[in-house]
């Protein structure tokens, strides 16, 4: 799994290590979705990204399938009204937050492969078991963001209503970009200088019409 020996360019080992961790988590029961459902979310997200449109045919409930499609191929079209609509049709806020995490992580890993011209990794086989339903130690509340968070809404608290997804996000964020500690260093350089990293990040966000 995530064997980059045929990559046209050498891939540093922390990347496949992070990807394997994410794949392992993707297959396992999550906080509010089973392993089967999580892999279904990932499969639907991949299909929607590839086709550029939402896919109606899915094992997931209709509201969840709509949310996955929108997040995968047109995230800027997600609105507070749509989230409330999905919620009114049974997609509870915590389940939605976990779904956002799964789609986002899948997209990160797949985009890396596409950029390097590599075949996408086969999705993992789902593992049996029930969701943990683990709540954060401090209750998540709804403030200025559209979903509940623990504390003020910031990127590091974005998925805090579902702590396991927040941890998974950090697993990828460090190897693929910078750890939160490294982000304080304006001169940090890996393969790219910090300014080059931010140029790539900014152009990606501009195409996605995302403020952040």
């Amino acid at each position: 799994m995530f064997d980059f020996s045929t990559s046209p360019l050498p891939v540093r080992p922390e990347l496949p290590a992070a990807f394997r961790h994410v794949w392992h988590r993707l297959a396992a029961p999550g906080t509010w979705w089973t392993g089967y459902e999580r892999v279904s979310i990932a499969s639907l997200a991949r299909a929607a990204y590839d086709s550029g449109e939402s896919i109606a045919d899915s094992d997931l409930p209709a509201a969840a399938a709509e949310a996955v499609g929108s997040l995968a191929h047109e995230p800027s079209a997600v609105t507070q009204e749509r989230i409330r609509n999905w919620e009114s049709r049974g997609l509870h806020a915590n389940r939605y937050v976990e779904l956002v995490g799964v789609v986002a992580q899948l997209t990160a890993v797949d985009t890396f492969h596409r950029a390097l011209g590599l075949e996408l990794e086969r999705l993992p086989d789902p593992q049996p078991g029930e969701p943990s339903q683990q709540l954060p130690d401090t209750a998540a509340t709804l403030t200025k963001a559209w979903v509940p968070m623990v504390g003020p809404p910031t990127i590091p608290t974005s998925l805090s209503a579902v702590p396991a997804e927040m941890a998974a996000l950090e697993t990828l964020h460090g190897p693929m970009y910078l750890t939160y500690e490294e982000m304080g260093d304006p001169a940090i350089t890996h393969g790219l200088t910090r300014a080059q990293m931010e140029l790539v990040a900014s152009r990606t966000s501009a195409i996605n019409e995302c403020f952040f």
Binding site: W146, L169, R194, A195, F212
Partner: protein
């Protein structure tokens, strides 16, 4: 973050190519990096753009660029998906950049 890192390192930079998708950002390999992002998200012509980055600033830079694109495809979906608000303080401190990069036209701005 780009503006901040370039100020801290006294690196002059042209932000316009970020909004326009082409041009010289005044960074080594900058034009090639902009093009690599463009084609990766468009889904065609990736191989040539990736090779241009690798030839200009090295293979490790091309791999890191692929990783950063992937990371921000992830972060953008999270920010948009949770409706991350932009605070008044951020708007004030970033007013010039918001104008230059035309961020106010974005749906979630």
């Amino acid at each position: 973050m780009l503006s901040w890192s370039s100020q801290e390192t006294e690196q002059r930079i042209n932000l316009l190519p970020i909004a326009e998708g082409s041009g010289d950002p005044l960074l080594p390999g900058g034009s090639e990096l902009i093009d690599f992002v463009n084609v990766t998200l468009a889904g065609n012509g990736i191989s040539a753009a990736r090779n241009a980055v690798a030839d200009t600033i090295g293979p490790a830079a091309a791999v890191d660029a692929a990783a950063v694109i992937g990371n921000f495809e992830m972060m953008n979906r999270i920010a948009d998906g949770v409706g991350m608000p932009v605070g008044a303080g951020t708007r004030t401190s970033m007013a010039g950049i918001i104008r230059e990069l035309r961020l106010d036209g974005f749906p979630h701005a």
